[in-house]
Amino acid sequence: MHILVCIKQVPDSAQIRVHPVTNTIMRQGVPAIVNPYDLVALEEALRLKDRLGARVTVLSMGPPQAEAALRKALSFGADEAILLTDRAFAGADTLATSYALASAIRKIREDMPVDLIFAGKQTIDGDTAQVGPGIATRLNMQLLTYVSHIDNVDLERGEITVQRRAEGGVQVLCTRLPALLTVLEGINEMRFATMPDMFRAARHPLAIWDREAAGVTDLTKVGLKGSPTVVSRVFAPTPRMHRAEIIQTQSDQPDDLVATLLAKMFTKFPDLRAAVRPRCA
């Protein structure tokens, strides 16, 4: 079985700060990490490899530094890594990203057919959750998003059965391989890489593909040119007009503070009185 995992290197958004005056992202010192949701996808692929035997290839499109993300994936147990990097890919939106990735995947398939593709649920920088569905659609593959459990992979019949999170419940779906899956967080816990794994990963040769290697012929479909959407404005969230009114009393005792708060609140927002409907103990 050949499993492909799409991973993206992203800035650790928990550490991002916005410059208060210029409204630009201050990237300095913000570490680049593997998109956390992609690690969940990778772990799921590695579990299938452990159980059923598989070759796991990781694919990433990004600047040359994204090599670090691929090496990380190799250290966890991926077998091969491909970095798709070309100036022409810069500035891509989801449509152009899925075009470049899908075309690289077609090349990968020439070498060895792909049975399963994993993508993350979403990225933590772009946050769109659209690239996975885009790749599946372009490759005419069945798409299974928000998978909460892989019930069964039947290689003989070429089928996979999964549980998919839907509104109000879980769908149990069976489909034909090859298929593209995005998985929910919390479905597994990432393994640790040992020191020897890391050394092996550091030495492992990486395939670096430019647009030609990826089979991209139509330059109007990639990068900024191939992106139907453009950012027209970037701004910081508007702060609420007022800072909180801090409740203070002479004693500053909890009971007094709370009584003052309720009195103020119910005066200014009388509708809230009716919203309080206590449950019986």
Binding site: D127, T137, R277
Partner: protein, 363 residues
Amino acid sequence: MNQPTTSPKPAGRRKFELDPRFQSYKGVWVFMEQNHGEIHPVSFELLGEGRKLADQLGVELAGIVVAGCDADADRFCAEAFFHGADLCYSLTHAALTHYRNQPYTQVLTDLVNRHQPEILLLGATTMGRDLAGSVATTLQTGLTADCTGLAIDLDNRSLAATRPTFGGSLLCTIVTLNYRPQMATVRPRVMSSPVRDTSRSGRILAEHPVLAETDIITKLLEFLPDDRRNETHLPFADIIVAGGRGLKRPDNFRLVWDLADALGAEVGATRPVVQAGWVTADRQIGQSGKTVRPKLYIAAGISGAVQHRVGMEGADVIIAINPDPDAPIFDFATYGIVANAMQILPALTAAFRQHTAAMKKAV
């Protein structure tokens, strides 16, 4: 590299002549998401927003109903009219009873190609995001995901969709250039629901698409409904009491539950609390959890990080309890108590119980 990931540089406002192929694209469409016989509330929120866009453009607002049988479809269309739609495209087929990517993508792209809307809106739900990604790719058009604001740029009749990026630290307004329809998904509870007006009605354009179950590759073997008794109703709760890491220990979280009982409220939490296993994941509020719009939100031991804020700042009134006067939550809360939550929560519980007792007497 997907935008707006790479340092979001504004492209500025570009004036352009819409490609003649797209000039016939007219109207605003809202995909009416249905699950097991019920319309997802986000569809009504979208109709409310879609109504404003359609009025600005001077075009009609259509609901797109996809259902397994005509009876369901008619009911869904009626609801769409009650919430602001002028007309509905109704697509029914047994194979469309439950959501599956392939047949839904097929019927929706086909409908778009024939009737050519300029704007197509879907909820950013597990269904809407799955479907929107496939439809936009098939149509080769632009899609702005997880928007929090929609507006029309009247200069060129284009949709300006605003969405948070980098976990909510920044907002980007995104436009779709020379492609139609302009697609966007919007998170549930970001926009308010319009008032349901049962006197409204509209035109139904019913179709029965040609589909064969044998051509649909993915099969639904089973649907396992969530246990309704344990289900949280966070997105629609009037009052939410939420706790964060400042509560220090899992047993202190009891104080949050007690206050919630006194208020008839739902319990919410921040991500660290969920990750520590103090409460279940379905109670997480924020960017990677739920978006809520209660009348009252009580935040105890919560710092107010942007990833949490984006999920709850739509609350009408926010009470924050935190001993750190510089905690960011005080920048946007309505009322603040700078004190230890372990003391304030029990006092609030007692005070609200007294309040209810007094209200009862008054009646």
